[in-house]
Amino acid sequence: MPLDSTSEPAVELRNVSKRFGQLTVLDRLSLTVACGERLFIIGPSGSGKSTVLRIIMTLERPDEGEVWINGRNLYPSQPPGLRRRTDQRHLRTIRRDVGMVFQQFNLFDHMRVINNVMEGPMRSLGLPRPEAERRARELLERVGLADKSRAWPAQLSGGQKQRVAIARALAMQPKIMLFDEITSALDPEIAAEVLKLVRELAGQLSMTMLFVTHQMHFARTMADRIIFFDGGHIIEQGPPEAVLDQPKEKRTQDFLASLTEVS
């Protein structure tokens, strides 16, 4: 879909730094994601890719810098003298626009599949039960699991679990979706099926999508822009052909070469 560069960016990070103890995971990172853009972040493990998504999802709070989502600052500065405190209610309203699918699926194992999908709309958006159920059924149908709505997560395969997780995230009707290595815990054939599903869904939806992935073919065919990330910095970025086929930076070339060796 065409990118809307005139309107507000969906996500904007300004000089964001994040440290875990001694380790600097993100170092003054600035990043703008346009509305409707499909942005892929690639790079070696431990390079801070997932931390970018976790900061956008408000699962981590940056040590420095600003995070803007749909034109709203996640952590507006407080009057001086006041201790920096996170305004949870403010965060909650903003992050309703953001959904996330995790590597480990993270289904609620104590709820049936359909209740997993209904939980967010009912408890977070306040949808009445029949409507939440209708929405959940429709989404389960779209991810090909209409017949599993009454099953427990423990009865599903990994690929099915991830489909439920995708349906659960979509049920919130987010404007921005984050996919954090969603196929890394799956067998290759199953992974391919899940990616096919995501591709289909992406074709029907106009939301902004951010992917962290090691699936280069998927990135090549889906991305509007690819960012190569290493050591908490953006090393190189551009359209897929540029970054994947004619990388300018040595580190990008080395990383891509290491991937082809593996596969």
């Binding site: 699962l59 104590h110 967010g120 408890r123 977070s124 659960r168």
Partner: protein, 218 residues
């Protein structure tokens, strides 16, 4: 000394008034322990120094002083500060507070056993904090807690005879009264022991049933 069945039957009705009080004290005491223990666990898990340290100190204090002394303190020392309570209520409070130190530990490990990803999803779905706790954290934390909480319940049940020392008319106290007036301790004491054994075994069975039931669902 030989066992007299006739005497045993004679005192049985008196003894059987005891279990009612014993069960009352255990149920009320456990209810209190579950409530207060949740408070300590919540304070420790909050991660705020102002809450963590007081909770830790209180729990250590409770665990490292004998229940009997806590009981006597509440019953004999508090009235000197004009805080007088009926014996049974005192006993229930002592049991509840004492065992809260142990239930707190069970809560803490139970809540910490929830994988981080579950909290992450609760955030990603924008669930309000109380909903995240009630719908996501609590139901998954309860299952691993059941055996340990059950053990605490049985342990507390077996601690109730201590209440006889502050004149609560539970089983042990009834047996003592019978012994003191008839000079026969064999039958009443044996029967109290057996009654405890029976109730303990039944509750242990109930707990494992309960555990198996919850396990099957997940």
């Amino acid at each position: 000394m030989t066992w007299h069945w006739a005497f045993a039957w004679h005192v049985l009705p008196t003894l059987l008034q005891g279990p009612v009080v014993t069960v009352e004290a255990t149920v009320a005491g456990m209810f209190l322990a579950l409530l207060i223990g949740l408070l300590w666990a919540g304070m420790v898990l909050s991660g705020r120094r102002m809450l963590v340290w007081p909770a830790r100190m209180i729990v250590e204090f409770i665990r490292n002083t004998p229940l009997l002394i806590q009981l006597f303190f509440l019953y004999y020392v508090f009235p000197e500060f004009h805080l007088q309570m009926p014996a049974l209520l005192t006993g229930i409070i002592a049991l509840g507070v004492n065992y809260s130190a142990y239930t707190a530990e069970v809560y803490r490990t139970g809540f910490q056993s929830i994988p981080r990803g579950q909290r992450d999803v609760a955030v990603a779905l924008s669930l309000p904090p109380h909903r995240a706790f009630l719908d996501v954290i609590l139901p998954q934390a309860i299952i691993p807690m059941i055996p340990a909480m059950g053990n605490n319940l049985v342990a507390m049940f077996k601690d109730t005879p201590l209440l006889s020392t502050i004149t609560v008319g539970e089983m042990m106290q009834k047996a003592l009264v019978i012994g003191d007036t008839t000079f026969r301790y064999l039958e009443p004491m044996t029967m109290v022991g057996v009654l405890f054994l029976v109730v303990s075994l039944i509750s242990a069975l109930g707990i494992s049933r309960c555990e198996r039931f919850t396990r099957r669902r997940s």
